[in-house]
């Protein structure tokens, strides 16, 4: 009696009709939560790729439709783990794009690795995400490179000798890049006069900034996210701090200048690409994106677009919808032309690619200089 009831339920739950003609790719994105503006860029970029791939793929003589399944991970590690589990065991995706922040990708990666499902994160720059893992890739450079770029920029172009850092100690990304900057800045002969921390969601930084003000540094490095940086800069300026403000790719979202306004002018940050990038792929993407969504694509959108296309190319090379074959094709990628530059994987999941430094001028992001590894 009981089992007679149970069987149909189980059939419904397991999605009894297996659809063989669909290639399913999961996307884990922060659609809500503290960096939801970035989740929106992720969704926009995926929408563009979905439309471009509307013709589908021919794999092993069989025509397959491509379907992206976008799930909300709220920029929380625990929700990301749930999303990854759901995508893998319930939706049976062949690969996952995401998540965006390093702390979330770090939570998802062990699950993808254990299930042997390839994961491409667009925007997670923390080294640990791919370290020691065979199925995890990323489309962006890593923090040690970015931290070095900013430190070199500070000592080289800005000729500064003293620096302070204020960063979110509860987030892998912020902490990692702050530490690399500290080491590299010291190695280049500079002096770190302040190394202050706070916790995610704090909005009052006056105690830390007052301490920094006392040390009077020439540059203040804020390797934090776009939703917090304007508050930090405003509060720093209100305390009379005159240091040049520097940041990392976590700054790259229109919200940064919307929230900060004029106070952000004259600051610099390292980024994956500049919206005035000049390659055919980038120009097409930027034009398409701007026309469709009435907004300039941020780096997260560009990197998500690159990740999705990278993955689709790997599926085509593999010639079958098999996660392991896709993984091998991804690992063998060389000279892929993306919006954010050429991507090659040299034995690890971390691509070899360059960075740019952007200057904020009258609320606009302007290309300042390029750095290659």
């Amino acid at each position: 009696m009981k089992s007679a009831l149970l069987l149909p339920i189980l059939l419904v739950l397991s999605g009894c009709k297996p659809k063989g003609d669909e290639l399913k790719i999961g996307v884990s994105a922060p659609l809500t939560g503290d960096i939801s503006a970035l989740g929106q860029s992720t969704r926009n970029a995926i929408t563009l790729v979905q439309e471009e791939a509307s013709a589908g793929l021919t794999l092993g003589g069989r025509q397959m439709k491509v379907r992206f399944i976008v799930e909300d991970d709220e920029n929380k590690p625990e929700s990301t783990a749930t999303v990854f589990q759901k995508l893998i065991s319930q939706d049976k995706v062949v690969a996952i794009i995401g998540s965006q922040s390093s702390k979330c990708s770090n939570a998802g990666a062990p699950i993808a690795e254990a299930a042997r499902i390839p994961q491409v994160t667009p925007w997670s720059t923390n080294p640990n995400v791919t370290k020691g893992r065979k199925f995890i890739f990323r489309a962006c450079f890593i923090d040690p490179f970015q931290g070095r770029v900013v430190a070199q920029f500070a000592t080289g172009r800005l000729k500064s000798r003293t620096a302070a850092v204020v960063f979110d100690v509860a987030s892998d990304y912020n902490k990692g890049i702050a530490e690399v900057f500290r080491d590299e800045f010291t190695r280049l002969g500079g002096r770190i006069v302040g190394f202050e921390t706070y916790n995610t969601k704090d909005t009052d930084f006056s105690a830390q900034l007052t301490k920094v003000k006392g040390a009077n540094p020439e540059v203040l490095f804020l390797p934090n996210y776009f939703n917090e940086v304007p508050l930090q800069v405003q509060q720093a300026r209100k305390l009379g701090l005159t240091a040049t403000i520097l940041g990392g790719d976590g700054w790259d979202n229109p919200e940064l200048v919307k929230l900060g306004g004029a106070v952000m002018d004259g600051a610099y940050f390292s980024n994956h690409y500049s919206p005035d990038a000049d390659s055919p792929v980038a120009r097409t993407f930027i034009a398409k994106y701007t026309a469709r969504f009435k907004a300039v694509p941020d780096a997260a959108a560009a990197l998500t677009y690159d990740s999705a296309r990278l993955l689709l190319q790997a599926v085509a090379t593999a010639g079958k919808a098999d996660p392991r074959a896709i993984r091998d094709a991804l690992a063998a990628t060389s000279g892929f032309q993306g919006v954010t530059g050429a991507i090659s994987f040299a034995g690890t999941g971390d691509p070899v690619k360059g960075a740019v430094v952007i200057r904020i001028e009258k609320g606009k992001f302007v290309f300042d200089s390029a750095v290659n590894p």
Binding site: T32, G33, D34, S36, A37, V169, E196, T197, Y198, N199, K201, T203, D204, S206, A207, Q208, T210, K211, K213, G214, N227, E228, L231, K238, L239, G240, E255, L259
Partner: protein
């Protein structure tokens, strides 16, 4: 010297915001022994109501916008009490606690859905120039909006103290706090007094939310962390006591800022709350609280 004064002003500003929230916790608990965990979200709601008024009616000066937002938030607080808490006044404690938590989550999601999840700031039009005298004499950078926040908060708290200790309504509130079963027999309208308490607490929280949105930023989930901190400040001060809520708030802000200034910003919450737990072990009723003298 300059840095010390600057840090003290940071304490004053943060403590004032904590105090405006903590007063609501303390008053409601004092009167009906209810810990309203949705109070942090009322604070958030007040900030967003101020933001929306500012966006819709940008020509409205801040000294009109603020009272208006405080009145609207007070109404929201009364509505919450009427809809969600009144029926449960004599229910068991667990149901009430769960209801207050539920109301909080409801308010967070309501604001997220209607306003959006992005971080927002209230542009108040308050002067943001630094106070020249302080800058000249002490080398301290203090902007006028900071000074106004501190002054207005203190004035609001003083008004509250006068209302509770020097008016008839205040007498009735203190009487209800003393014994809510006997007071109605004396012809006092219990529901009205409780609604009034929620209104005052919510209005003060709204002032705190608006200041917070001007000095720092608003997001729909900010009430959780700040609500907890203000609640803890109220407990430290002795929950149920108005002076205690204010004292506890400045104490908490002081310990937080001092930890960052003289130890390490890494230890901020750990040390602050460790000390507070120690304090409560020594002083279980809170600094200004009185031990319960109820007979069995």
């Amino acid at each position: 010297m300059g840095v010390l004064v600057q840090q003290l002003l940071n304490v004053a500003q943060l403590g004032a915001v904590y105090a405006l929230i903590a007063l609501g916790y303390s008053m409601v608990y004092g009167i009906i022994r209810l810990i309203n965990f949705a109070h942090g979200d009322i604070f958030m709601l007040g900030g967003f109501i101020g933001l929306l008024i500012g966006v819709r009616l940008p020509w409205l000066p801040v000294y009109v916008m603020m009272p208006l937002a405080m009145i609207l938030t007070a109404l929201a607080g009364v509505l919450v009490e009427r809809v969600a808490y009144r029926r449960l006044r004599n229910a068991n404690r667990m149901s009430v606690v769960i209801t207050t938590l539920g109301v909080g989550i409801f308010l967070e999601n309501l604001v997220r859905l209607t306003v959006g999840p992005e971080t927002r700031q209230i542009r108040s039009g308050m002067p943001t120039a630094s106070v020249a005298w302080l800058q000249g004499h002490l080398g301290v950078y203090v902007t006028w909006d900071k000074v106004l926040i501190i002054l207005v908060s203190f004035s609001l708290m003083a008004i509250l103290w006068l209302v509770v200790n020097r008016t008839l309504v205040g007498t009735a509130m203190r009487a209800v706090a003393d014994n809510k079963d006997v007071v109605p027999l004396m012809g006092v309208n219990l529901n009205l007094i409780i609604a009034g308490t929620f209104a005052i607490g919510s209005a003060l929280a709204a002032a705190g939310g608006i200041f917070y949105g001007q000095a720092y930023a608003l997001d729909p989930y900010m009430g959780i962390d700040l609500g907890w901190k203000a609640f803890i400040a109220a407990v430290i001060g002795g929950i149920g006591s108005i002076e205690g809520a204010v004292l506890g708030s400045f104490l908490l802000a002081g310990v937080e800022v001092a930890t960052v200034a003289y130890l390490s910003s890494n230890l901020k919450n750990g040390i602050a709350f460790g000390l507070l737990i120690l304090l409560l072990l020594v002083w279980p009723w809170g600094i200004m609280g009185k031990p319960g003298m109820r007979k069995v």
